[in-house]
């Protein structure tokens, strides 16, 4: 009757550090999945959105009568018809008290502020009929001038929201002189101008689209006592809070479920108009409703990322010792301030100084409203932009001084013996070893041999030139200490929650508030708990992503799940052990002080007496024989608020061949040595690194959200928004050094964003390095063959991308345009033909 678990510690392989195959995969590789769009509920109705073809326009009238009259259409709603039940989409991080924030109605009544904004919703019995009827909705618009270009918008030439009087949303400043964390930067720059080196550059962080593979989908089921929202979201808990806060439904009446979620990368860290509209319609009709976006809708309406201009001034002594860094950013918010919104560049504010010992630092960001799709977090959120800027600048400094780019970095970086180190941005880096990671990366790529080959190719005038790109990155992750978030005026805390439930059958249910969407939490978290409690990996079940199952949580983003959520797990598991100890002592008729817990067993020191924690769990469940005053439960919770950010680092090296005749690039080799502290599962880590690398490389080489002059997203489908394929990428060499984090029990550091943060500058540095002898010192991202070719031929870094797409599907013929430009972006706009001056 007693489920004895004989697992003597010396025979048990530790789970942490094992390359366990993932628990998640059995379902995913057989198609037994629960994507939101897979859900079908009795009586479920389907929604189709009517979207604006214009970037900026007054809504003169909306005639829904023909759509309402269509067969199997249940109803059609406009913004005014849903009224206050629509709620609003909120910004949770007003970065300054004065921030100018336009009200964001999920379905505005009077004016649209970007192409793709929803103006009406059709409800029908099938998705096809909803789409058909959406084309019958006749919207009359009065087009307004649109604020599109970021710099022009910052000058308030055209207003994105005329009633606000300005496009400038917020100016956020950090100055090391004022903060007392360093010297005034202007002094350092003046001195360098007189007797040193000043590097001044302006870099463009192009607009990107997260482009998770699963299009977003939402199902609202209002038929139970709790209204249920299923959503393809990264943030079920924040979503539930925001629904309650803005739609008047008590939080206790709301259940949010994030079922299988197909990737996010920050792109599903949002509360969306589509969710809010589905919520309002479901409540209004009392029937389950579903909305699943098409890819084209996703690209135009799900938030975008990056989109900054970076004005940079680096001061150094003649020998290359850095003395100051001044960063002035313009950041494009798009039409509205999204949930994190202007907080994204602020997350980068502490990272431009990176691993270098700058004595003086100044950062400012001006966030700007435009009539384009809103922007928010995308993998790395603020830190890739910062890392790009500083790692590009360090290469420029190396050239100026005339030394190898690794040498200039080593001269300025924090030495391993200097940790913990408080930076000029006021952060304390707990651990790291830049020397070790760099030495290993150089060895992996064969750095000196590549430099020799590079020289040979240059000297012989080879049409194929070779460049070697360096990125010695660090980042701050593990969002985030709540006190710091409070100081930054973020609207919530940064803790995470976990529960451990000991079942009578010896199984362990673990509840986490971190909601995975591909990261492998079920596997890695099982390993942590298995080790901590000394139970079998297979006996641990991880539950998440449903606010009725996991009622507390702050969700998954910012490389926080392991370093914050994992620590909560450890603490909850430790509480279980503490609760079990007096019960075990009682059952073993020993003193608790004489018990030790190893390998899942309580043993009485100096005897062969002992019992497994599963046995204690069963005895606790039976509760027949417990000590007086002890509750019959081992279940424990922990809510962990991190004391500090977490600072992974690494050295990334990229070898790139450039065909100087065409500008075509061929990546020959990419190696990285990352220090992410202790590793729970090396297989999962490798996947995070590989995937992160390719997203960062894709920013360097391929991806860009391009708008035309009328504000239509030209790269509005996967034909023109270029994601790389297997055929465009290479295999990577990755390795690790280990400097355990000192701020969490497991010594772990975040890895989810590291590859993306590190790789973009490594790649661009490699491209520029390959062609620098042609007089090139910058190539704007994405480094297209055309831009590379023009740079080689003396035409600078390359201007903006042409705002026109190839007309592959004959849409020119279909829509009557001569160029076909922008037609791809117009495809989701029913009623275009009936609107005044529509794109065609």
């Amino acid at each position: 009757m007693t489920a004895t678990q004989e697992r003597p510690s010396e025979e048990v392989e530790r789970e942490i550090g094992r390359d366990r195959r993932r628990k998640e995969d059995q379902r995913l590789i057989t198609g037994r999945t629960r994507w939101t769009d897979n859900l079908t509920l009795p009586g479920m109705l389907h929604l189709a959105m009517v979207r604006s073809p214009f970037a900026h326009a007054k809504i003169v009238s909306i005639d829904t009568s023909a759509a309402k009259a269509a067969t199997n259409v249940v109803d059609v709603f406009t913004g005014p018809e849903l009224g206050e039940t629509l709620g609003v989409n909120i910004n949770a991080w007003p970065i300054t008290p004065e921030q100018v924030t336009p009200t964001h109605s999920p379905m505005p009544a009077d004016r649209v502020a970007f192409a793709g904004e929803i103006v009406a919703v059709v409800v029908a019995r099938t998705a096809a009929e909803a789409r058909d009827a959406a084309e019958l909705v006749d919207v009359e618009y009065d087009e307004l001038p649109a604020a599109l270009d970021l710099k022009s918008a910052a000058a308030d030439e055209v207003l994105a929201h005329p009633d606000l009087g300005t496009n400038k949303s917020a100016l956020w400043v950090f100055d090391s002189g004022e903060a007392g964390t360093g010297a005034p930067v202007e002094d350092a720059i003046s001195k360098a101008r007189a007797d040193g080196i000043v590097i001044e550059r302006e870099y463009r962080q192009q607009r990107l689209i997260p482009a998770f593979m699963e299009p977003r989908s939402v199902v609202v089921d209002p038929t139970g006592e709790q209204y249920v929202m299923y959503s393809a979201t990264q943030i079920p808990h924040i979503l539930r809070f925001a629904l309650a806060a803005t739609t008047g439904v008590p939080e206790s009446k709301i259940r949010v479920i994030a079922p299988d979620v197909g990737g996010g990368f920050g792109g599903k860290l949002q509360t969306t108009p589509e969710e809010w509209i589905a919520w309002a319609v479901g409540r209004r009709l009392g029937k389950p409703v579903k909305y699943t976006e098409t890819r084209s809708e996703s690209l135009v309406s799900a938030h975008h990322g990056r989109d900054q201009w970076q004005k940079l001034t680096l001061a150094a002594e003649k020998d290359g010792t850095v003395t100051g860094l001044k960063v002035e950013l313009l950041a494009d918010l798009g039409a509205y301030v999204a949930i994190v919104g202007g907080g994204v560049p602020v997350l980068g504010a502490f990272m431009f100084n990176a691993i270098y010992k700058f004595p003086a630092y100044h950062f400012s960001v001006q966030t700007v409203l435009t009539n384009k799709t809103w922007t928010d977090a995308y993998r790395g959120a603020g830190r890739p932009e910062a890392t790009y800027a500083i790692e590009r600048l360090m290469d420029e400094l190396a050239v100026e001084v005339g030394v190898d780019p690794l040498e200039i970095r080593e001269k300025n970086w924090i030495k391993h013996e200097e940790f913990p180190f408080t930076t000029v941005a006021g952060l304390e880096y707990d651990s790291g070893n830049y020397e070790a990671a760099t030495a290993r990366a150089k060895e992996m790529i064969g750095y000196d041999e590549l430099r020799a080959e590079q020289r040979r190719r240059r000297e012989s005038g080879d049409p194929v030139q070779l460049g070697i790109g360096v990125s010695t990155f660090t980042e701050m992750c593990g969002l985030a200490p709540s006190r710091v978030l409070g100081q930054l005026d973020y609207g919530a805390g940064g803790w995470e929650h976990a529960s451990v439930r000991m079942l009578a059958t010896g199984k362990v249910e673990v509840v986490t508030g971190a909601s995975a969407h591909g990261q492998g939490h079920e596997t890695a978290f099982s390993q942590i708990v298995a080790d901590r409690l000394g139970v079998a990996f297979e006996d641990v079940e991880i539950l998440h992503g449903d606010t009725q199952v996991a009622p507390k949580g702050m969700d998954t983003y910012g490389s926080r799940s392991l370093v914050v959520g994992g620590e909560a797990l450890v603490r909850a598991a430790d509480k279980v052990i503490e609760k079990a100890k007096p019960i075990a002592a009682h059952l073993l008729e020993a003193s608790a002080d004489d018990l030790e817990f190893t390998g899942g067993r309580f043993s009485v020191r100096g005897t062969d007496q002992g019992m497994a924690i599963g046995e204690v769990a069963l005895a606790t469940f039976a509760a027949h024989n417990l000590p007086d005053g002890v509750e019959p439960s081992l279940d424990s919770d922990a809510t962990y608020d991190p004391v500090a950010f977490n600072f992974p680092h690494g050295t990334h090296l990229c070898a790139m061949e450039v065909d100087t005749e065409t500008g075509e690039l061929r990546m020959r080799k990419y190696v990285c040595c990352d220090d992410i502290g202790n590793i729970i599962n090396p297989l999962i880590v490798s996947g995070q690194v590989h995937g992160g690398l390719v997203q960062g490389i894709a920013q360097a080489l391929w991806e860009e959200a391009v708008y035309d002059e009328s504000g239509t997203l030209v790269s509005g489908s996967f034909v023109d928004y270029l994601l790389p394929t297997a055929a465009d990428t290479i295999s990577f060499d990755i390795d690790h050094t280990t400097s355990p984090s000192l701020t969490n029990t497991l010594g772990t550091k975040g890895v989810g964003e590291a590859g993306t943060i590190a790789s973009t500058p490594a790649v661009v540095n490699a491209v520029v390095d390959a062609v620098r002898h042609f007089g090139v010192n910058d190539i704007q991202m994405p480094c297209t063959p055309e831009r590379v070719w023009r740079a080689i031929n003396g035409a600078g870094a390359g201007g903006s991308t042409e705002g026109a797409a190839m007309p592959h599907f004959g849409e020119a013929e279909a829509s009557g345009t001569s160029e076909g430009g922008g037609a791809m972006g117009n495809q989701e706009q029913p009623g275009t033909s009936s609107t005044e001056g529509a794109g065609a």
Binding site: D25, I29, G31, M213, G262, R295, G687, S717, S731
Partner: protein, 156 residues
């Protein structure tokens, strides 16, 4: 409505469908074969890849009526008698998936690739999967998975 009859994952099925219904919608909405998913509207992503009469196609780019009389295999029909197909096993073994959304299409295309080229080079694998987008893995471990499956002799 048009009457169609076909074989899907070994079962004979027949339905009246609108001619405009895509094969992927038929699989998902009529047959409940939700293992096959839709990732785009331009046939770039390959997430919907199935086998139609023995070769891989993008089921978002085939009308259900065009599959009349055909034999369709989806990700849900790949395992036989409870035994995973070697390519499925290889994807798990090599961590060739993360969120898993592209995985059904990626596996179905990999099976097709190996059926015509049992011992592909890395370059042949990469080119063979050029019609399938993945946003999580960076493709590295997908390539490893196909190599692993090939080494296990997975040719059909």
């Amino acid at each position: 409505m048009t009457r169609i009859s076909l074989t899907v994952d070994g079962a004979n099925v027949s339905d009246d469908v609108e001619p405009r219904m895509l094969l992927v919608q038929y699989l998902r909405e009529k047959l409940g074969k939700t293992g096959t998913v839709i990732g785009c509207d331009t046939s770039n992503c390959g997430a919907c890849t199935v086998h139609l009469n023995g070769t891989s196609v993008k089921s978002c780019n085939v009308l259900a009526v065009q599959a009349d009389g055909a034999e369709v295999t989806t990700i849900e029909g790949l395992a036989r008698d409870g035994q995973l197909h070697p390519v499925q096993e290889a994807f798990r073994e090599c961590h060739g998936l993360q969120c898993g959304f592209c995985t059904p299409g990626m596996i179905m295309q990999s099976v097709d690739l190996l059926s015509t080229n049992p011992n592909p080079s890395e370059e042949e694998i990469r080119l063979g999967l050029e019609g399938n987008l993945c946003r999580c893995t960076g493709y590295h471990n997908i390539v490893r998975a196909v190599q692993h499956a090939a080494s296990q002799g997975a040719t059909s």
